[in-house]
Symmetry: C2
Subunit: 248 residues, 2 copies
């Protein structure tokens, strides 16, 4: 990667927010065309991140947010003693880097799980513009708030679900987000390893693997390495809700 002889370094074609097919999922939600033009003006640059490379590291100075255009990212934190935790997986239209606002430094790593492209949004410019555009301000706040709510959901999962329930919740979340992006939702290719799933879910990779096998045996999934086909989404949902606990 970082191949210095790669023929295309600069953006070969201009893709603005106003023409982006993600604008219904991303920062521009609810904005008028004039407002979109203003936003386009500050989302000037784009950045390509090769699979395995970091978009930013914990400790890096914070200056920009990043909207995923194509590809797939994981974010994660680690403590001094090497313990680390995947805190999220991020697909097209999602915003990365919000963690950096609080301290002017990023507090987590963001790593591309496949070759990816992000829109670079200068944070101070975004602040300035969102003081003028109410709709932008509102959408930005909504995105941050939803991130908090999402994290609470993960805390619930980590704090009170057992292994298979966690994996079921994870798969349903993934398929739902894929569906929002126009994919089938019953057919998916995991971009991450079993170990990364395990880290996100607070499990070991063997446990994740066993849960996949169990789901396959029970006819809920068809699992071929990272190719997953959901055969019985309702049963997965039933797992997430009270399957064993309260059959009442």
């Amino acid at each position: 990667m970082q191949n210095p002889t790669h023929p295309i370094r600069l953006e070969p074609f201009k893709v603005a927010c106003s023409g982006c097919n993600l604008r219904e999922l991303c920062l521009p939600v609810g904005m008028s065309t004039e407002q979109l033009d203003r936003l386009d003006a500050i989302v000037a640059t784009r950045r390509t991140v090769a699979r395995g490379d970091a978009l930013f590291h914990a400790g890096d100075a914070f200056a920009s947010l990043y909207a995923v255009r194509t590809g797939f990212f994981k974010t994660g934190v680690s403590s001094e003693d090497g313990r680390d935790q995947v805190t999220g997986f991020h697909m097209a239209g999602e915003l990365l880097g919000l963690d950096g606002i609080g301290t002017d430094r990023h507090t987590c790593d963001a790593v591309a799980l496949e070759d990816s492209q992000v829109c670079v949004i200068g944070y101070h410019q975004l602040e300035d513009l969102s003081r003028e555009l109410t709709d932008l301000q509102r959408q930005f706040h909504r995105i941050m708030s939803r991130e908090i709510v999402r994290d609470h959901g993960v805390m619930l999962l980590l704090g009170s679900m057992r292994a298979e329930e966690r994996l079921a919740a994870f798969l349903l979340n993934l398929t739902q987000r894929l569906r929002a992006r126009g994919f089938s939702g019953s057919e998916l290719v995991l971009r991450m390893t079993r170990e990364e799933i395990g880290s996100y879910l607070g499990l070991k990779l063997e446990t994740v693997s066993r849960a996949f096998s169990k789901f396959q045996d029970d006819g809920l999934l068809e699992v071929k390495q990272r190719q997953i086909r959901v055969l019985n989404a309702d049963a997965l949902q039933a797992l997430v809700n009270g399957s064993a606990c309260g059959a009442a």
Copy 2:
């Protein structure tokens, strides 16, 4: 609560942000006196919440944020099947209700663990004002971002620490926040039950209790019900870092 015969319904004394001793911890951080006056204008009302009562519930319409003035709150989410998870404990100067921005409805419950008082901050007014006051906008964004970072820390804890490590991290976090508010930090009174601590940490109350006893036996703490005295903060910190894993 809402006792109609209570003699004092309106605020008997006016306490504005500009005169609040929490202004270095709360929303006003970094604001000038003129800016503080503007903020005072929108933080009009205060609300008293009796111990055990809810400030808001999941599902309630969202209209305001709440800054804790005095007292102590827990927030928590619950899934349909009754599983529930304490997502945070909140003391003076901290902002509650950020979860509601994303969907215009609160997504968690906030319950007072002791008689408490909050400042009510109309969210739309705050949006309006933060479009005018850069410093307010910045501080508000910082607070949201830090909430995200805090949640990531909890995810790390829930995903990769064992019981005693979790409790140690929890206690250190509490003492640190108390110290920031001028308390000793070695002497504290827990406002929550073992069960609530357990829910927050993804443990059962018995496990929490055993960990407390273990810490007392080892001379790290003195535990008298909810009265805790920290005798060896360094040892607690060592637990949070790699105690058993990498002694290298």
